[in-house]
Amino acid sequence: MATVQLKNIKKIYPHSESKQKKGLFGKKKDEEPEKKHNLQITAEGTVAVQQFSLDIADKEFIVLVGPSGCGKSTTLRMIAGLDTITEGELYIDGRLVNDVPPKGRDIAMVFQNYALYPHMSVYDNMAFALKLRKMPKAEIDRKVREAAEILDITEYLDRKPKALSGGQRQRVAIGRAIVREPQVFLMDEPLSNLDAKLRNQMRSEILKLRQRIDTTFIYVTHDQTEAMTLGDRIVIMRDGFIQQIGTPHEVYNHPHNLFVAGFIGTPQMNFFQTRLECENGEFYVPLYGTRFELNEKQKQMIKERGIEPQEITLGIRPEHVSLCKEGGVEAEVDVSEMMGSSVHLHCSVQGEEVVVIVSGLELGEEHASGFSHGEKVRLHFDSNVLHLFGADEVNLL
């Protein structure tokens, strides 16, 4: 139960010393440069995270999302105290902890790579932290068995991690964290290796855990559903920078920039290069020969912000495109993906791809099993939910 404050946190990984022989026998370090994406590289090294400021309230559930290599794990490891903070300040429960070792931070963490103790049984892996706290044996036993029950790993309690599958190991790693009652829970993609069913199950277990323990969570994931369903607020990162912080509702409905718009939501938002035009003081957006009038709220904002007509990227989510009998824009079906309750149609409109979600109810008899390649359809775009991004990729509204 604690607040966590990150103030302008920066992490620089110094340039690797691999040229100056590393370790005995010039042992290779495992995290040698994979792909460095677009991380900023300075004289001191690779900047993995920068300008990271975030106030996490007590008992809040924060989710960090972003593409691989954007600095999520690095951020988490800095909060845990496993990586040093190059610049900035980190407060846990109001206490500056930059130089406090992990042991003194009262946190529990689920590692992305599990980091189980290879020489200990599953039981001992989960009991270790409690033993160190000199908890009575009976209580340890109760807690470990309870956690094992929740995670469905009771039958493996006597095994060594080596004899477990990836998903089983991951559950042990979760178990090791949840037997404790720390101030802050850090979870680095804790469900990434579980099958879909187990993942759903574990997701609700984490929600239950949260109700039971009621403490601060910082959770890293790739999975949108996890981010949306678990997070009180979502932090979207890219190349070491925060792109947007907001509730699931906010980041979905008001993406701050083009990146967030494209990252949140599956299938991805449709983007069109077009212009914001103005005629007789009325703003509109032309697209495929039709005109999108803006609604009152949008017009108001444009006036307030003094936005000029300009080149823009128009974003429309696939669920805001629908099929219509007449009018709209003509399109040709490329691929029809049957998702069960709905169909994802990948259509081409004048050579550009547009994705449409058609719910099962709208499908009708003839299209019950989807559409065939080359079929002609007509698309209607819902102009109430347009996203307009300027040349700097920032949302205009």
Binding site: L116, Y117, H119, F128, L132, R133
Partner: protein, 290 residues
């Protein structure tokens, strides 16, 4: 397919097999063969067939048994000291310290000197009247002790010199083990609230256990076979104070020219060492599979 591959493999192996055969298997087989006869280099020929006579007389030979006892004492003390000290040094080298590479080279040097050179060097250093050691000790009032010639100190001195030379071997094996330990469990332990001492006790020690065993067993085997250092330093003396089994066997073969007896004794020594090396290879194999 497989038999073809095996045939090819065999063709490539033949040269080294022949070499090994001529230099190792043949002498070994021959010495095994003559251990059942009464071969004496003073006379020509195989002599009489003795059956297990040489073995029986070796086991009844109190000097042989005594030398085994000396060897066991020597080996156990040497290995214990080297292990404890060596692990401490390895732990130091596993930390981030400045100038580590220089210290490391210094620690490694003794290992690269041949035991005979080491022995000669130390004999000069320890010379009772001309040696540096006694000269230095004279400043604190200890004078003229003949370290290697005194019954009370000879074995201890030899042990000291052997530790001085061989500890780097131990450091090397243990350090290699420490360096290759995974680092994730340590991160997990620090999150779980373990102090450095607790990490050491609950993570490092258990993870290092197989390396410990291998290092100790391998070193035990080489210590058991120590010969050259003794030959140069004391020739087993004074009396039989430092007479280790390898040196005793050497004396049987080349001083007393009792070749077949020496052969029998060598095989008794081999019999002692086989289980030790068997355990060591078992552990090594298990670890590689794990």
């Amino acid at each position: 397919m497989i038999s073809d591959r095996r045939k090819n493999a065999l063709i490539f192996l033949i040269p080294s097999l022949i070499l090994l055969g001529v230099t190792i298997v043949l002498p070994l087989a021959y010495s095994f063969f003559i251990s059942f006869f009464s071969v004496d280099l003073k006379y020509k020929g195989l002599g009489a067939f003795m059956g297990f006579g040489n073995y029986a007389s070796a086991l009844k030979d109190q000097y042989f048994m005594g030398s085994i006892k000396t060897t066991v004492i020597f080996s156990v003390i040497v290995v214990v000291i080297e292990f404890v000290l060596g692990f401490a040094i390895a732990l130091l080298f596993n930390c981030k310290i400045k100038g580590k590479n220089i210290f490391f080279s210094i620690v490694i040097i003794p290992m690269m000197i041949t035991p005979v050179a080491v022995g000669l060097t130390w004999r000069l250093l320890l010379h009772s009247t001309l040696g540096v050691v006694n000269w230095l000790l004279s400043f604190i009032g200890i004078t003229g002790h003949a370290w290697l010639a005194d019954n009370a100190t000879a074995l201890g001195t030899v042990i000291f010199i052997d530790v001085w030379q061989q500890i780097s071997y131990m450091v090397l094996i243990l350090l290699a083990g420490l360096v290759s330990l995974p680092k994730e469990p340590y991160e997990a332990a620090s999150i779980d609230g373990a102090s450095r001492w607790q990490s050491f006790k609950y993570v490092t020690l258990p993870l290092m256990a197989p390396t410990f065993l291998v290092a100790i067993l391998l070193r035990l085997i080489t210590a058991f076979k120590t010969y050259d250092l003794i030959y140069v330093l004391t020739k087993g003396g004074p009396g039989t104070a430092t007479e280790v089994v390898s040196y005793y066997i050497y004396k049987q073969a080349f001083t007393h020219l009792k070749t077949s007896r020496a052969a029998a004794m060598s095989f008794i020594l081999l019999l002692i060492l086989i289980p030790v090396s068997y355990i060591a290879t078992r552990i090594l194999r298990n670890r590689n599979e794990g």
